[in-house]
């Protein structure tokens, strides 16, 4: 009996402390100057109940918040951040949403970082739904760097360390135009969502069409372009868009999406995929349908993970834009550490001056003169420089 009563009290105490810290955190994120000390106070109060105590003031604490923890891209990012954190003595907290689309998971992690009074956040924002939470973090004095995916609008964060996804898409579009050399393009587009507009999704997809020389109308909306017409890059020619299928950016989604597209039109000869896992699924569906990938149909993608660039070498993907997540994360950790130590914030380096460009390379065994958006390298170069 006594045991049970004590346990009850402990629960009540933990619950009370938890509630208190949540309320305080909410206050601190709601207003700006006055409440800044309240956040660390709340963490201290909660410390006996929580497993990890707040970081001492001397160490610089940084949160890395990715979209999920299973995509090798984000795993690479976590590795890059961990290495940089260990080297520079930064106290790193790694977290992620449960899956693509889990806005709430990311928001909770941002709130945790605010509550713990960390110096900064590195985040791959899931969607515009996390913007408010990011604003609260910056109001609370945290330096926020978006990794890989810019926020929409971009000035929600302090700076973005990213691949130019639009440019990455453009490169594979230009490659496709060169490869087709005037032949009709019958296009399947396998994206993450087709009922929600996420920046990485529309930027790569519309970038691909732009590279091909198709009039994309609104660059932030997928599927508003005419479904047939002429592409103008390289020799130019007719195009027909068969489908815009949501895949969730994984193998099963890629296969299912490709199957749906093949049902709509079995003569597809160009397949745009949001990333390489999607491309693997599409490749399986195409092979099952008796197509020879690389001859009857060209599969293009963006990412440049190890498995992806090995697939370029093996011939199941013809061209993919490689990006460098490890670099994004390690540079991000170092930047926040520098600012916390009194240094200057980093400046934008990209062509359009909107973000810190971490670079992109087009990986292909069959380079095309039409590609101007990125340097072209063979698969072996990309394998040597791949993440994941």
């Amino acid at each position: 009996m006594t045991n049970r009563i004590t346990r009850g009290r402990t629960f009540a105490a933990i619950a009370a402390v938890g509630t208190l810290s949540v309320i305080l955190a909410a206050c601190s994120s709601g207003t700006t100057a006055t409440t800044e000390p309240a956040a660390p106070a709340a963490t201290e109060a909660a410390a006996p109940a929580a497993t990890e105590a707040a970081a001492p003031a001397a160490t610089v604490a940084v949160s890395l918040i990715t979209k999920d923890s299973t995509n090798p891209f984000f795993v690479a990012m976590q590795e890059g951040a961990k290495t940089a954190a260990a080297a520079s003595g930064v106290d790193l907290t790694v977290g992620s949403g449960k899956e693509e689309g889990d806005d709430a998971g990311q928001i909770a992690l941002i709130e945790n970082a605010i509550a713990q009074g960390q110096a900064g956040i590195l985040i791959t924002p899931m969607s515009v739904n996390v913007n408010e939470a990011i604003k609260k973090a910056r109001d609370a004095g945290l330096y926020v760097i978006a990794l890989d995916t810019p926020t929409d609008p971009p000035d929600v964060v302090d700076i973005t360390f990213a691949t130019d996804n639009c440019l990455a898409g453009e490169a594979i579009g230009q490659w496709t135009a060169g490869k087709l050399n005037g032949a009709k393009a019958i296009i399947a587009r396998l994206v993450i969502f087709n009922d929600r507009m996420v920046s990485v999704d529309y930027c790569r997809d519309n970038g691909f069409l732009k590279g091909l020389g198709v009039d994309i109308v609104d660059p932030t909306i997928m599927g508003d372009e005419p479904t047939s017409g002429k592409y103008t890059t390289g020799a130019g020619g007719d195009y027909e868009i068969v489908c815009l299928e949501a895949t969730g950016a994984n193998e099963e989604g890629g296969r299912k999406g490709m199957e749906t597209c093949l049902s709509k039109n079995p003569d597809i000869n160009v397949v745009y995929t949001i990333n390489e896992p999607t491309a693997f699924g599409a490749d399986a569906a195409l092979k099952a349908a008796g197509k020879t990938v690389g001859k009857d149909v060209f599969v293009v993608s963006v990412d440049g993970g190890l498995a992806g660039v090995e697939a370029v070498k093996a011939g199941s993907i013809q061209a993919t834009s490689q990006q460098y997540p490890l670099r994004m994360a390690s540079l991000g950790v170092e930047a926040i550490k520098a600012i916390a130590d009194g240094g200057a914030p980093p400046a934008n380096t990209s062509a359009n001056g909107e973000f810190f460009d971490t670079g992109v390379t087009l990986c292909t065994e069959d380079p095309q003169d039409t590609v101007t958006a990125a340097p072209q390298e063979n698969a072996q170069y990309c394998i040597d420089n791949a993440w994941g």
């Binding site: 999920d68 923890s69 299973t70 995509n71 090798p72 795993v75 449960k98 899956e99 969502f193 087709n194 009922d195 299928e245 949501a246 994984n250 193998e251 099963e252 296969r255 299912k256 199957e259 749906t260 093949l262 049902s263 709509k264 079995p266 896992p277 693997f280 699924g281 490749d283 399986a284 099952a288 349908a289 498995a307 090995e310 697939a311 093996a314 994941g388």
Partner: protein, 349 residues
């Protein structure tokens, strides 16, 4: 409403035509739970074929059977569990765990740290055993600790997902890295322009075997009895605990086969494979006319339910509708199916 003896009176009443047409439908659906999903499936097929003639082409029909194969296989396991008035939210996590065990053990790529290089048949066997073990853990927690299946499997959903990520470093194993036997379920047999995946045949065999088991063996009868009324089952000498435990173990076995099929289907083993598969299997079982309250339902219904889920998604996609509309349609179907189940159950009242 009616006196306790009406159960026998009902039958006589039905044949003597002493019922309203609605009551007759109610009784018929109660006796043949797979009838409503069959009607829905046929209606859906006809409508989608009319909207887009490409829907009914052999190529698309083979896509539909291929897309059903994983949901269908897991739906067998889910049906057995739901028949006992249980539920398994961890079924997808067990499947992913099983496939990652198989793929990692059989890995042929030299470049990897988790390179065991076991013979493929052994890797598959161990993977299936891992799934059986996972099912046994669910069964143990539910039977020995008397915890509700919903809570247990909600917990093990997270546990198995995390274990997969921790043990296998969240790495996707690509097709070329795996020996052919792991991918054999994805091999397609061409019958004209229709393609029959080996996995689909395995799924249908599993359906046939377990339909026989449910109907013809005492174990099958006990499952219905336990789901219908555990006290009565216990009083009539059935060890409800043993039956419950065995159901979760068998479900683990079927899920292990599902894991093998999944590798064939996608040509890869990914730790973040299909996160919605848990709910999809429950959807298929519920649409298939199996009662979430246990004791009533058929495997053929679940097979039809799995096909309905896939047909609706595929049909709406070919009709040019976005993902959101497909999700909406499935949601409405689930609610309609449960509402229908409630109405049918009133026959007993």
């Amino acid at each position: 409403m009616s006196d306790p003896a009406s159960g026998t009176m009902d039958l006589a009443g039905e044949f003597l035509g002493r019922r309203t047409p609605m009551q007759r439908i109610q009784v018929t659906l109660h006796r043949y739970p797979y009838l409503s999903p069959l009607i829905v499936l046929v209606v859906a097929l006809v409508i989608f074929a009319l909207i887009n003639p490409k829907f009914i082409l052999p190529g698309n029909l083979s896509f539909i059977t291929q897309q059903t194969v994983v949901i269908g296989t897991l739906a067998i396991a889910q049906t057995l569990i739901i028949l006992t008035a249980g539920i398994d939210l961890s079924i997808g996590a067990i499947m992913v765990f099983g496939q990652m065990v198989m793929a990692n053990l059989a890995l042929t790529a030299a470049s990897n740290a988790t390179n065991f290089g076991l013979p493929p048949w052994l890797a598959i066997t161990i993977g299936i055993c891992a799934s059986i073990l996972a099912g046994a853990i669910n069964g143990f927690l539910i039977v020995k600790l008397s915890l509700p299946p919903f809570i247990v499997t909600l917990g093990t959903l997270s546990v198995f997902t995390a274990l997969t990520l921790i043990l296998f470093k969240a790495r996707t194993i690509q097709g070329p890295e795996m020996p052919d036997l792991l991918k054999v379920m994805g091999v397609a047999i061409k019958i004209g322009s229709f393609q029959l995946m080996v996995g689909v045949i395995v799924m249908l065999v599993l359906f046939a075997v377990f339909t026989y088991v449910l109907r013809m063996t005492s174990w099958g009868t006990h499952i219905y009895a336990v789901g219908d009324d555990p006290q009565a089952a216990e009083l009539s000498g059935i060890s409800t605990k043993r039956v419950l435990f065995s159901v979760y173990v068998v479900a683990g076995f079927i899920t292990g086969i599902g894991a093998w099929i999944y590798i064939g289907r996608t040509g890869a083993a990914s730790p973040n494979a299909d996160p919605s598969i848990n709910l999809d299997t429950i959807t298929a079982v519920v649409i298939g006319g199996t009662s979430l309250f246990g004791g009533r339902g058929t495997l053929i219904g679940s097979l039809l339910g799995a096909f309905i889920v896939v047909v609706v998604e595929n049909g709406l996609a070919l009709a040019g509708l976005d993902q959101a509309y497909r999700v909406l349609a499935i949601g409405i179907l689930v609610i309609a199916a449960v509402a229908l189940d409630q109405w049918i159950r009133k026959v007993r009242a």
